[in-house]
């Protein structure tokens, strides 16, 4: 019998998540001009979150250099005197500089057509007004997602499945990712070619490749 064993993301050895430690090590910044929009940060600090609050963008270079793992960004009234004029421009700028930066769009203007790009560009969305419980859930999800390689795979899978990619092709993509994790090969070339052969949509391709590279980097580091 052929000694073939299916390699999956779940079978990769990775460290067990310690949520308390992750909360401390994951730095979060909340940028919102309304002091009442986000629950008091002291509530989160008391629970071990490493969280900072800015009324507006205090240092764009700090954001661009990935000083924070998670950015919670409002759309209006957050821009400084110079540079980008609103949250949407900041979001575009940050995603251009560092596509892997995790940004949570935080706004009450969810029904405004002009802001659709703001919601779509961000990695997650948080709608105003927001309760403490909902806030915690969103932040915990983001922290887990940044730390857990399986989350990346779930996201990739969902994206590709929504484009009608077959289970066989998905297994091939998974196998390629696992192979690259084991080799520590973070170059996107092979995975991009494979994904491009399954999906025509360029946006979905780019997103899936970005996520795959994130997964490979995190997976290789955990090995």
């Amino acid at each position: 019998m052929w000694p073939f064993k299916k390699r999956t993301i779940a079978s990769l050895p990775h460290k067990r998540l310690d949520m308390a430690k992750l909360k401390q090590t994951t730095s979060i910044v909340v940028i919102d001009d309304d002091p009442n929009a986000f629950p008091e940060v002291s509530t989160f600090r008391a629970e071990g979150y490493n969280i900072t609050e800015w009324r507006k963008v205090e240092s764009l270079s700090q954001l661009e250099s990935a000083a924070f793992d998670i950015i919670v960004l409002d759309v209006t009234g957050v821009a400084g005197k110079w540079g980008p004029k609103d949250g949407l421009e900041i979001l575009r700028l940050l995603k251009d500089a560092n596509p892997r930066q995790y940004i949570i769009a935080f706004s009450g203007q969810r029904s405004v057509h002009q802001l659709e790009e703001f919601w779509k560009l961000a990695d997650a969305q948080m709608k105003k007004p927001v309760t403490v419980s909902d806030c915690k859930r969103k932040l915990d999800d983001a922290i887990e997602e940044l730390a857990n390689i399986e989350h990346y795979w779930v996201k990739i899978r969902e994206r590709l499945q929504s484009c009608g990619v077959s289970e066989k092709k998905l297994a091939q993509v998974e196998d390629q990712i696992v192979r690259q994790v084991e080799l520590g090969d973070t170059s996107p070339g092979k995975i991009r070619t494979l994904i491009a052969s399954c999906v025509e949509n360029e946006k979905v391709q780019n997103l899936a490749v970005n996520l795959a590279v994130k997964l490979i980097t995190a997976g290789a580091a955990a090995l």
């Binding site: 009442n36 929009a37 509530t43 009450g108 659709e116 997650a124 007004p129 419980s133």
Partner: protein, 342 residues
């Protein structure tokens, strides 16, 4: 008669005018004049004329333009025995109708924008209420917010849940005003039981002492859902409270018998009829007995809930009551709404 139909403009398939009686028996003489040879004028198989008006997006087809004596026409035309309508007058009709449609669309858009602006304006006040409700809870001892909430007084908890309810109400209003916003976001693992539990705590305040709400079952499963799942559950729960009679229990069950979480809501109120099962999920539609029971409600809630369920690849199962009893002349029974989240 005006109908919107993109492919009718080609003139190949033209619908038959239902009131064309003359054409059934003899050849219609109405269009032997110049009108039928004009641009944009086509004939239906029964001899009725058909005018297509095109704009960038849509085509409006006018079929069987009727009796000239009923409309504002020059005197000379009313003397004609045949129903001949001059092309320029037809064009005027078309223009007037198009303007009317454009105006109606503009009013609708403005209304939506105004509603959104209104929601946005009250948001800072809602934020303040929320933060004010959280402050006294944070003064209690406890390492997490949930522990401090448990340690707080009943009055403080009530205030907190009332503020939560206000927040969710604003959320729902956004989704009702512009349902396409439910398409935002991505799936994330969602603690359904916790969510329903929080809704129930808030809804107990809303329902008052005469409507009891009981939560049964337990589930630790966290299916991957969109944020809008909260809107779905909220709408079904809210409907159960709104359309239930006093001194009757509302039972909410959350279970995970398989690889899914099932939320079912039973309430005793105006009976949904079997023939209305699909209708209640249509925009603007309400059940006959529900309309008799209360005038409140726009008929959009279940429509939006249905859209959200579809987005999750599932559906809302509605079970009408097996038997009904009349309350004030309205047949009432136990209606059940259930949804499975995978």
């Amino acid at each position: 008669m005006v109908s919107k139909a993109g492919d009718l403009a080609a003139g190949s398939i033209l619908p038959i005018h239902p009131t064309c009686r003359t054409c059934d028996h003899k050849k219609c003489r109405a269009f032997h004049g110049n009108a039928s040879t004009n641009l944009n004028v086509l004939k239906c198989p029964k001899g009725l004329n058909c005018f297509a008006h095109k704009d960038d997006k849509e085509t409006v087809v006018f079929i069987g333009l009727g009796d000239p004596s009923r409309v504002d026409l020059p005197r000379s035309f009313s003397r004609h025995r045949e129903y001949v309508v001059a092309p320029d007058i037809v064009r005027q009709w078309i223009l007037r109708t198009t303007h009317a449609i454009d105006h109606a669309h503009l009013v609708m858009t403005e209304d939506t924008e105004r509603a959104i602006q209104g929601l946005h304006n009250i948001q800072p006040a809602v934020n303040m209420v929320l933060r004010a409700a959280e402050r006294p809870i944070n003064m209690h001892a406890g390492s997490t917010f949930e522990q401090r909430l448990d340690a707080s007084t009943q009055a403080e908890r009530d205030l907190y849940y009332a503020a939560n309810l206000l927040t969710w109400m604003i959320d729902i209003q956004h989704d009702l005003v512009r349902p396409e916003t439910i398409l935002h976001g991505e799936r994330s693992s969602t603690p359904i039981y916790e969510m329903v539990d929080r809704f129930v705590r808030s809804f107990r305040l809303l329902a008052g002492p005469h409507k009891r709400i009981r939560l049964e079952g337990q589930s630790y499963r966290r299916p991957r859902c969109f944020d809008s799942v909260a809107t779905l559950l909220f709408i079904i729960l809210h409907n159960a409270i709104k359309y239930s009679i006093e001194n009757q229990e509302i039972v909410i069950r959350v279970n995970d018998p398989g690889n899914y979480v099932e939320v079912s809501i039973e309430s005793y109120g105006p009976a949904i009829r079997k023939e209305e099962l699909d209708l209640v999920f249509t925009a603007g539609a309400r059940g006959r007995h529900a309309r008799e029971f209360t005038t409140e409600g726009s008929g959009r809630g279940l429509y939006v809930a249905h859209m959200i369920a579809q987005k999750h690849g599932t559906y809302i199962e509605c079970t009408p009551p097996h038997h009904t009893v009349d309350y004030d002349g309205i047949p009432c029974g136990t209606n059940t709404f259930a949804v499975r989240l995978y």
